[in-house]
Amino acid sequence: MEKQCGLRNGPEPAEFRQRLKIVLILIGLFLSILLIRLWYLQVIKGDELKQRSENNAVRFRIIQPLRGLIMDRNGTVVVDNRPSFDVLYMPTKGINHELLLQRIKDIYKTKTLEISSDRPFPKTVKPYLPVRLEKNVGMEKVALVETNILDLPGVYIEVTPVRLYLDGEIVAPITGYTGEVSQRELEEPEGDYLSGDITGKYGIEKVFNPYIRGSRGNELVEVNAFGKVIKNLGRIDPVSGSNVVLTIDAQLQKAAWEAFAGLAGAAVAMDPRDGSILAMVSSPSFDPNLFNSGIARDEWEKLQKNPLKPLSNKAISGQYPPGSIYKLIVAAAALEEDIINPDTKIFCNGSFELGNRNFRCWKKHGHGSVNLHRALVESCDVYFYTVGKMLGVDKIAKYAKMFGLGDLTGIELDHERKGLVPTRDWKLKRMKEPWLLGETISISIGQGFNLATPLQLVQAYSSLANGGTRWRPLLVQRIELSNGSITKEYLPEKIGELKLSQQTMAVLNRALWGVVNEPGGTGAAARRPYADVCGKTGTSQVIGLPQNDKARRQKKIAAFHKDHALFVCYAPMKNPEIAIAVVAENAGGGGAVAAPIARKILNAYFDAKKKEKTGQVAAIIPPADQTGD
């Protein structure tokens, strides 16, 4: 042991004792100050503070901000806010909830009204945490509650903003809807939500929620026994959310919705010059106003169970076999890979044999000898079977991907789907089976595994229309504060390029013009007097019904067996400014059903433009070098 008991080196004990005395004095000083403060608070200010704690109930009230508006490209408000009147109750000592509820019911009864919920009180009522007894009540109830407020201690009316979707179901798939935060959202660490907050649940409302939401304000007030505010202790004003300005043209959107006339499907109109989405409808749709104060269970079930899926935005989530729309891509591939030249003719006798299988052309007796131009114009299947077989699936896939298929377009909406561009590798990985040649034949005319969303189709054709640039679809132009100052602007973004020769693009352009404007073209229904539309029809066979489930198949066959009608187009041919994709589910042929819808949207677009330029009667002359066959 090096240290012996009791022996001390280092500082002298006396020195320590000196310091300990200082410490003692300091401690005494500190604690005396605390004691004086305690005396001051409890004895001198005691009565005042007691008053404040006793007869004044301090209420902390949250003031919900106004959500930002959603506007179209012309500044027309599409989604607004409106006041909603809620009946609230502040739990106070000594009040019998059952009795209070009965009193409210009695008061309502005088005007033959009823309380909307059977059990407005939750199981546990915590003191000073307000209970929302009834949401979104009419003015009659507001008046009844206000006039009887003295008989209803603790009950009061609160005004909160709720969403007003002016165009309802027409824009609903884009704007989405709002609702109360879910338990999961409450637990998100970065969410900063409180129970009862409103948040975006779908579409723009959800994706742009951080901008639209604004920030809560709050208020600390002292209230008397009747719940009346007697002293305002402080208030932080809420900050309204930012407005979102869409690229959508509300008028065109409406026209597109009307053109659909109740058919199921989707239509997307894009400006091929920069990727702006001018209209995007999905039918059938839903009324987003229903979700404001919590959708009723039966309404929700009805929407959920509807086989036509009104809650999904088919323009981005609907994946369809592109059918003959795909022939444009196969044609581009064949030209670029030197499988054919524009003059290569193939004889179509109505069918194409591969081993012992027979692939039919849609035209029973065949198209005869056709070159690429006519094959596209008349949508000859045999021509593309032949070319597709020579190309092989992977070459076709290479071009399909160049056109943007099989990948997300990157539009700022939730639930976008990728579609599918099949390749040998994909099948081997996915199905553990080698690729079959027969499948290449189906792929060549856009059937088989191929899947694309309407947005992808319009993007693909836009890229051809603008001379080869693939733009990211723009749905939002800018975010601005409620005073109009711009906080964020979304600029066109090039995300890909068609590496096709000028000659190839010219050939394809001409062929698409022919589809609409030449005799025998399958897209004649989209023809306008100005002969300015280029397009391609598609009719895709519906697969996907379970083969083994025969009974179900039989039952549903009537409605679900019919083909999907597709049409994709752009106009005017020179310097196109609008491209449209239309998919009508189980509606029949593309030329007969989808093309007229596209024409209506085109007419609406050009009519509006003409009106805008009053005085200048824009004579759009059809391109001189284009004639019928």
Binding site: K3, G6, L7, N9, P11, L34, R37, Q42, R52, V58
Partner: protein
């Protein structure tokens, strides 16, 4: 082994006064925590029972720290320090997060907060260090470089959790010890000057809410909704207690949950509301007695090690009492320091009782160490 030898005098000279004081304060703490949990409508497991279990655990630790000669404990000072350091680092990497702070190590059913252990570990380590490096002259700055590192590294880790309060208390206690041992006047001036110079640099490292708290402290009424809310509600609670208090289980501020953090940081407000100035005075006198008693032990200790240990542990209690009460009385910013023995919190009460064991250890061995 002289250190572990049984000695009758350990029990003959047992410090009953210290033990009784601490146990009385703990008892007040349990009664008080019972009151905060009284009005809970949702049936959570009653906190006062949990606190009781923690105190039992703390008493067992106290027995250990009391029985083993403190000089033996000081032999293990750096090991204890290293263990605390390791658990702080562990918590920084894999710790359990609650209320946005990562302070706890989870042992399944219980959460352990290493920063509480660290405070005591630093006291022991500093005592050992200065005992090993005795000097008849006041220490110069360069002689204090090792103790500085010993304190600053864990403090930064604690600050990162983030736990500004505990980090500050750790530094304040260590500084008190160093000043108590004796430091060259010039060195003190240089140290103070450099700390003042560093302060503006530290500001950006604080979290927003920590800045808020420091700023709103300056004028709580200007922000009655945000950070000021705690202080105002606490002052209303204390003030409304008046001279005699509202009575046990009758504090409306407490029972109606206006008062935030009432089992932990604001536990004194609960007590003051229900027991009034009289209660507050009694409690404060008990703390004052405890602190004086602790200093008396430091005074009478027969060796430097014992003096530093006793002083350090007393400083730990004293500073936390002063800071916590100053906080709930609205005199200093809300930095989240619990009130010793009264605030609910397992790690804190267990380590505190362990420290009290050490204090009794020093107290009793002055009779043994005589020759």
């Amino acid at each position: 082994m002289i250190f572990l030898k049984y000695d009758r005098r350990i029990f003959q000279n047992f410090d009953w006064m210290l033990f009784a004081l601490v146990m009385s304060i703990c008892a007040i703490g349990i009664i008080n925590i019972y009151s905060t949990g009284f009005s809970l409508i949702d049936n959570r497991s009653p906190l006062y029972l949990k606190q009781l279990q923690w105190i039992m655990l703390g008493l067992s630790l106290m027995l250990v720290t009391f029985l083993i000669d403190y000089r033996a404990i000081s032999q293990a000072a750096y090991i204890i320090y290293a263990i605390s350091m390791a658990s702080l680092i562990f918590v920084a990497m894999f710790g359990h997060t609650a209320n946005g702070a990562q302070r706890w190590i989870s042992f399944g059913f219980l959460l352990f907060q290493p920063s509480e252990l660290m405070k005591v570990a630093i006291i022991i380590a500093l005592a050992r260090y200065f005992d090993d490096h005795k000097s008849n002259e006041p220490y110069l700055l360069r002689e204090l470089f090792v103790p500085f590192l010993m304190v600053i590294v864990p403090s930064v880790l604690i600050l990162k959790q983030p736990d500004l309060g505990t980090a500050l208390v750790t530094i304040i206690i260590s500084t008190s010890i160093v000043l108590f041992i004796g430091m060259n006047w010039k060195s003190i001036l240089i140290a103070v000057a450099s700390v003042l110079a560093m302060l503006p640099l530290a500001w950006p490292f604080l979290k927003d809410y920590q800045k808020d708290r420091l700023l709103t402290f300056l004028s709580p009424e200007s922000d009655p909704l945000g950070t000021g809310y705690h202080i105002i509600q606490s002052m209303i609670a204390i003030g409304s207690g008046g001279f005699l208090g509202k009575g046990f289980l009758k504090g409306s501020q407490t029972q109606l949950k206006f008062l935030p953090e009432q089992q932990t940081d604001f536990v004194f407000s609960v007590f003051a509301e229900e027991w009034g100035f009289i209660g507050g005075l009694v409690l404060m006198l008990m703390f004052i007695s405890l602190i004086i008693w602790g200093l008396k032990i430091a005074w009478h200790s027969k060796d430097l090690l014992g003096t530093i240990l006793a002083f350090g542990i007393t400083a730990l209690i004293a500073w936390q009492v002063v800071i916590n009460m100053g906080m709930v009385l609205g005199m200093i910013p809300v930095v989240g320091i619990p009130l010793p023995f009264l605030s609910y919190g397992g790690s804190a009460i267990v380590t505190l009782l362990g420290a009290i064991g050490l204090l009794m250890n020093v107290s009793v061995r002055r009779f043994i160490l005589q020759h």
